[in-house]
């Protein structure tokens, strides 16, 4: 046993190493990126195979291949990654895994570092029937990762470890074990043919679904016995005013809030989000007048518990999203306020009322005293950022009512003042698909650029182009668009912390590889008007934009200049130096 302060993401890596992970892949994003980065840093030393894939779907598929060949695998991604890989995730639940697999999906309640949506990825449990574990703290990151591999091994099913920003980016003391020599990473995979299990074709596919549902029943029984669903203060059940059911980081806020209020209530802390341990839940809620479900984002657990209570004909009142927000992350204060409401307590009646009062009111009072709104500091492009040149030149060259299609990367800052050059933004690679629709809808004479009322320019980064952009471009060419695409090639995946991509000639392990030339890909997609230039040559860029906007076919400008931050910084050092 050793103890160390670790970041949640580092604890996940540690747990996976102890579980004997041999194959690691994923796609960078916030707040999961440090998992992949740490694995890539130690891969050679530990004898693990690790990579950044081109996107999350490919990552999952590679891990499926590794698993079918007998190697333990881990895939890491941010919330939206699970949307991208879901097409293969669902059949994977049917086939099951051969060697254990853990999929880390990191959500970002409050969207601290996410555009797109405040996604609660736990919902995929219902779609896929894949077990989901929710750690609350760094110790649990470590333990649940190990447990995830155990569950996966026992039931031949992938396991999702669902984390959130306040868990991934939490630092705390972790107690961990030695890495047993029996769990040394392996590279001796062997693919043994088994089409019966690996091909999800009809009629077998429905049989597989049946097998999956039967498996879920067994996993449910396992969850009933699992220590990670734990009841605290069980003696109080039945004679306290309220019981609390909680999961993930919310558990920590609940403990803090109860301590603050001097309350000692029974708590059921669920480590399993899915499957829900019905019997354990029933045991907990039976005989309680009221139960408050404390979970972030969607009220999935609350709904599950309402069903359990109804089926058992219980009178227990189940509360949750009626007193807690569905938007934004939770914290201790929000839970204190919910508890006061549910228990009909007045702040002043409490023993330590002064403290609570200051807690709930002080900040508001202070701000009120200040009579001051503190202006928002918008994120901005770094000094010398190549996107600055690109955006400025395009703005000057494009006509007034040009539509700017945004995509996901540092250049999203185009949407903030003073640029204001982003008319929509959705998901990685989406700029071109949406541009295409706009062009087709607004140009009656379709193919003729001159006939279009508005010019449409898509702005997309190099990493995003490789991730999910190419199909959008092919569609534009195939369906005769006339729109302009600017690929902002800063030679790296910058926003998520500077990970390499296929355009760099270096892979995640730092090996020299074939450098994919974006212009070659664009040409192969059938684009005729292509220009590669350095945006520092502002005049040339402006002229090219003006020229390409008159074309009757798709045109592409590759605005190529290295990210200024990358240029300034030395190569990433040995420690887990997370980019600031």
């Amino acid at each position: 046993m050793a103890k160390k302060v670790l970041l949640g993401n580092e604890a996940i890596v540690r747990g996976a190493l102890e579980a004997g992970v041999s194959f690691v892949t994923g796609y960078p994003g916030c707040p999961s990126a440090e998992i992949g980065e740490e694995f890539l840093r130690i891969a050679k030393k530990e004898g693990i195979y690790a990579e950044w894939a081109t996107n999350e779907k490919v990552a999952l598929e590679s891990a499926i291949g590794a698993s079918f060949s007998g190697l333990k695998s881990l895939i890491n991604m941010k919330s939206f990654g699970i949307n991208v890989c879901s097409d293969s995730l669902l059949p994977l639940a049917y086939t099951g895994v051969k060697a254990p697999m853990v999929i880390v999906v990191a959500d970002d309640p409050s969207c601290h570092s996410s555009a797109q949506s405040e996604q609660d990825s736990r919902g995929y449990a219902f779609l896929s029937h894949i077990p989901v574990l929710e750690p609350a703290d760094v110790q649990e990151c470590y333990e649940f990762t190990k447990l995830g591999f155990e569950i996966s091994e026992k039931f031949n099913i992938p396991v999702i470890l669902r984390t959130t920003t306040r868990v991934n980016h939490q630092r705390a003391i972790v107690e961990f074990n030695e890495i047993a020599s029996s769990q040394a990473p392996r590279n001796d995979g062997n693919f043994v043919k088994n089409p019966h299990q690996f091909c999800t074709m009809p009629p077998r596919v429905l049989e597989m679904k049946k097998e999956l549902l039967e498996k879920m029943e067994k996993i449910k029984q396992f969850a009933e016995k699992s220590k990670i669903n734990k009841i605290e203060n069980s003696l109080k059940i039945g004679n306290s005013k309220l019981g609390i059911i909680t999961s993930g980081v919310s558990y920590l806020y609940v403990k803090e809030a109860l301590g603050e209020l001097g309350l000692n209530l029974p708590i059921l802390k669920l480590g399993f989000f899915y499957p829900l341990p019905d019997k354990t839940v029933l045991k907990f809620i039976k005989g309680q007048k009221k139960v408050l479900v404390v979970e972030e984002l969607n009220g999935y657990i609350e709904n599950g518990i309402k069903i359990i209570a109804k089926d058992a004909n219980l009178k227990t009142e189940i509360l949750g999203k009626n007193v807690l927000p569905e938007i934004g992350e939770l914290n201790t204060e929000k839970i204190i306020l919910a508890l006061l409401k549910v228990l009909k307590l007045k702040i002043g009646k409490l023993e330590n009322s002064l403290k609570i009062e200051s807690l709930c009111c002080n900040s508001a009072e202070l701000s009120e005293n200040l009579k001051l709104e503190i202006p928002r500091r918008f994120p901005k492009l770094c000094e010398g950022c190549p996107h600055l040149y690109t955006l400025a030149a395009i703005k000057r060259a494009a006509p007034e009512n040009t539509v700017f299609g945004g995509d996901i990367g540092c250049y999203m800052i185009a949407g903030y003042p003073p640029h204001n050059m982003q008319d929509y933004v959705f998901s990685m690679g989406s700029s071109m698909g949406i541009s295409h629709g706009i062009v087709k809808a607004t140009s009656p004479a379709f193919a003729k650029a001159s006939a279009g009322k508005q010019k449409v320019i898509s702005l997309i980064g190099d990493a995003t182009f490789f991730h999910a952009g190419i199909q959008g471009l092919i569609n534009m060419v195939y369906n005769k668009s006339n729109s302009l695409v600017v690929i902002l090639d800063n030679r790296i995946t910058a926003m998520t912390g500077h990970q390499p991509n296929p355009g760099m000639g270096k892979n995640g392990m730092g090996e020299t590889v074939e450098e994919l030339k974006i212009e070659d890909i664009v040409r192969a997609c059938g684009v005729k008007h292509i220009k590669v230039l350095d945006p520092i040559n502002v005049k040339e860029l402006e002229e090219t934009v003006k020229d390409f906007l008159t074309k009757d076919e798709v045109s592409v400008i590759i605005s190529k200049r290295i990210c200024a931050l990358l240029e300034r910084r030395q190569p990433k050092s040995e420690s887990l130096q997370v980019v600031e």
């Binding site: 601290h112 705390a172 914290n331 202070l366």
Partner: protein, 189 residues
């Protein structure tokens, strides 16, 4: 010992994460339970960043409550002021006399006026960036200078020795000297 709650506020790129690493490690060295929460990503590109550190006997939540900070370290003036929601009547404010303006910001005098209004006698204004730039030709280590100031002025219940050890344990070797220099600089001024 009562739990100790710190908020560090600054602008992305000012070395906040380094400070979190060092303080959490130092608290661990002193035998405390400790939790922190930091943010990476979009907020980092020159946006506002707030990190939370808590240590003491037993820590559950990694987040400091509104009004619950014992110490607020502002690496930039406006960001120090922005963190005032975490301040209660006893909170100590240590603010770097460094201003990073942007379009639509408050004027510096107004920030100072409000900081004084909130923190009253508990405001410590220190020219960390300026001093580090002059003496060490490096502004980013001003966060370490401020940490040194906290220890000297007993704004933080951690010993210089533990922080020293924490710097050595958490920083890449080539940066240790510079950071220790910045940490010790505040003693001599």
């Amino acid at each position: 010992m009562k739990n100790f709650n710190i908020i560090i506020a600054g602008v992305g790129g000012q070395g906040l994460i380094t400070l979190v690493k060092i303080i959490t490690e130092a608290a661990f060295i002193e035998g405390c339970d400790v939790k922190s929460s930091e943010l990476h990503g979009l907020s980092q590109r020159g946006g506002s960043v707030i990190v939370h550190i808590r240590f003491g006997k037993k820590i559950y939540s990694p987040l400091v409550k509104t009004g619950g900070a014992d110490l607020i370290i502002g690496l930039e003036e406006l960001e120090g002021l922005r963190a005032h929601v975490f301040a209660g009547p006893q909170t100590k404010f240590l603010v770097n006399k460094y201003f990073s303006p942007f379009i639509g910001t408050l004027p510096e005098e107004k920030i100072m006026e409000n900081l004084n209004k909130i923190a009253k006698n508990n405001l410590y204004l220190v020219e960390a960036s300026k001093i580090c730039k002059e003496k060490l030709q490096n502004e980013v280590v001003s966060s370490l200078y401020l940490l040194g100031f906290c220890v000297n002025e007993k704004l933080i219940p951690l010993s210089g020795g533990s922080i020293f050890e924490a710097i050595k344990k958490t920083m890449p070797e080539k940066f240790v000297d510079l950071n220790i220099k910045a940490f010790e600089l505040s003693k001599n001024i």
